[in-house]
Symmetry: C2
Subunit: 128 residues, 2 copies
């Protein structure tokens, strides 16, 4: 399996992956529907993108009748992890604290989120 650079997926590709991760499997038509962007994409755009993504190893398909049923070929965790780590390393020199600091000041974070974060950190401290 080629060293598929998992960071650097385009926006459309990410949105498609999201659909597949959510649904498990989906036909081109289903992906097309579920994307539902403002200037609705052409059906063929989605089909082409899926084909390109299959070449890159991001998705795979099985055939049902004459319809392709696509599924994700890489786990959401791997992609999320890779992209998040990439940003962390390139932009924040690997410092999670710096990154979180930026994000905390840049946007509203609900008390609920804060509580969850607190628990996470506490758990991590205990484990080390």
């Amino acid at each position: 399996m080629a060293k598929t650079k998992l960071h650097r997926l385009g926006d459309l590709q990410l949105r498609i992956m999201q659909v597949l991760w959510d649904r498990g499997e989906a036909t081109v038509a289903e992906v097309h529907d579920l994307l539902g962007a403002r200037p609705r994409l052409a059906y063929t755009t989605v089909a082409t993108m899926l084909r390109k993504m299959e070449v890159r190893g991001l998705v795979a398909h099985r055939t049902e009748g004459r319809t392709f049923v696509y599924r994700a070929a890489v786990a959401a965790e791997r992609v999320s992890g890779n992209m998040a780590e990439h940003v962390l390393d390139r932009l924040f020199q690997g410092s999670l604290a710096t990154m979180v600091n930026h994000l905390l000041t840049a946007r509203e974070v609900s008390p609920d989120e804060l509580a969850k974060l607190e628990t996470l950190i506490a758990e991590r401290k205990r484990a080390s």
Copy 2:
């Protein structure tokens, strides 16, 4: 000034920005040296990239004699913020806790980092 999409900067562009953020100003030769990648990039590659980046409004330059002295034209915080938020929204549905969870499990985090994180969260809680 065009709506410079600040998320989606390539790797080389980010590394160049990093140099400029660090140094304030730098000539092409200096940037070229400071990048110091394994298969060393050609001087002209860096020069070309800087010119392209100037068109996009990422950097600017002044002339000193006949050499260009470049500087960043966008703040590190804006770029970091944009890219981090983009990943957060696209990959973690905006949940900071989810993102941090991934990053905590994916890599070693020093006790020092954990302590800083704890402080950040605590401060944030108090402020809300």
